[in-house]
Symmetry: C2
Subunit: 276 residues, 2 copies
């Protein structure tokens, strides 16, 4: 995969040397390589804002952990929430969460980005915000499969609810706080990703549900397929911690083991009758 | 409003005398009057299943409380969740929650209603299940107003997230458990009600957002407008308990004080920047 070579440009290098804040908007698959190009250029005093949604494949780490590791910046924030770019650009009212390990940094980012139709809420649960953003794309594929199979709003709502329970369980086992998953970066982003026509990961699932093969689908899109990339990472993390993740398991089987979509959704919906 | 006089029919009276289970499916506004007609006919041993979603206007009580009060039945259950009847009838996979004060009754209802495409999960938090069903219709009106004003998926997801936080806060202040609101009868039903074209309460909001008056809208529909009826009850309960309910307050202002829709949504979205 070709990486951008923009850092050879002197003007950009100069801009970065004095940067007080840097926004890192790179698909997670290329994040570590691209950000490594800024190492030694960005000052350690620079505040980082990651908007990438996913985990690093090699280390299974969150993007702010990768950024700190590579750039040695002290203040790292994750900005996440229900915010399709197409709508933000059209001034559609939008609200998101910004999480930082430094409350002053969180408030600075909040003020920097806030506008008449774009609101930010602060938290210090960086892990919770990043896990919500990473895992929701997996659930979105499952919901897309249900839509592609012709199931309805009832099915979708049940899958989203089970999906958030699973994301919360796994995220908390990895050190995040429950309440973060009930907020904009958890439930809010999950809802928009699972119900919007603009969602790429939901669209991947919908095409799977309609009978296209995963190779065909991933080969035909230039866009980030975070859910397809991240389901294997999430599955490994869940097994290490002994967390039950049925939605992730089924999406993994769809993407990596060519399981039939109808069988995957049936497995999810036909679990034994039990207490909620 | 004319009430059904079916209890004058001997055949129905006989059926009810031996009933082991009775399903009460009556809009909340007429629930107490209609159910009072069964008093002294249904045996106290009969297990009750309420599927009504809302509170009693006079007493501000839940429907299972009204049913026990009127019928003196010991076992009362509430069945609720994301389950548009139109989809259930078409065998679209659906999952709901059944809550009873008696675990055996909950399991009996679960087995009675379960089918290949209809799943039930049991809980003993009857209050949580009923409050989720009652309050979600209020949030659905707010989301409909946003849709009617032409706002987007981002706005809707933010309102649903804030709506569930508010429902959870109020429900817990009234004795329910937090986790119930994260389940099918809370989050699941809220999502389907706020995102589906089939939702009546969302449709009421959408027509308000497009400029129709509330009198015009309520006058033109024969269907239950639970959210419009229940926002005043929820607002009173919230004030009594000192719970902050901004979504309910704005829906109340829209329905009962003719507030302009754009002003209501702006009030909700333009609250001070703050921690989540």
């Amino acid at each position: 995969v070709p990486l951008p070579h923009s850092l050879e440009w002197t003007a950009e290098r100069e801009a970065l040397q004095d940067a007080e804040t840097a926004v890192l908007a790179v698909p997670t698959r290329y994040f570590r390589d691209v950000v490594s190009g800024f190492s030694g250029i960005l000052p350690p005093s620079c505040g980082i804002v990651s908007v990438a949604k996913g985990l690093d494949a090699a280390s299974r780490e969150r993007m702010t952990v990768v950024a700190r590791d590579v750039l040695h910046c002290e203040r790292v924030a994750a900005l996440s929430g229900p915010s399709h770019a197409e709508e933000v650009a059209r001034d559609i009212p939008t609200a998101v969460t910004v999480a930082s390990n430094d409350p002053d940094h969180a408030r600075a980012v909040q003020e920097m980005f806030a506008g008449r139709t774009f609101r930010l809420y602060t938290t210090n649960d960086v892990a919770g915000v990043e896990f919500g953003g990473a895992f929701k794309n997996i659930a979105a594929i499952a919901v897309g499969v249900s839509d592609g199979l012709g199931f309805g709003d009832n099915t979708r709502a049940a899958l989203i609810t089970r999906g958030l329970a699973e994301i919360t369980r796994l995220g908390c086992a990895l050190g995040a706080r429950t309440e973060t998953f009930a907020g904009l970066s958890g439930m809010g982003d999950l809802i928009v990703t699972c119900t919007s026509r603009l969602s790429r990961n939901r669209a991947i699932g919908e095409r799977l549900g309609r009978g296209e093969s995963i190779d065909e689908i991933l080969g035909s899109t230039q866009q980030a397929a975070e859910g397809a990339w991240n389901c294997a990472i999430a599955r490994t993390l869940a097994r290490e911690r002994g967390v039950d993740v049925p939605v992730t398991d089924e999406v993994y089987a769809l993407v990596h083991e060519h399981k039939r979509p109808a069988d995957a959704v049936t497995s999810l919906l036909q679990r034994d009758l039990k207490a909620e």
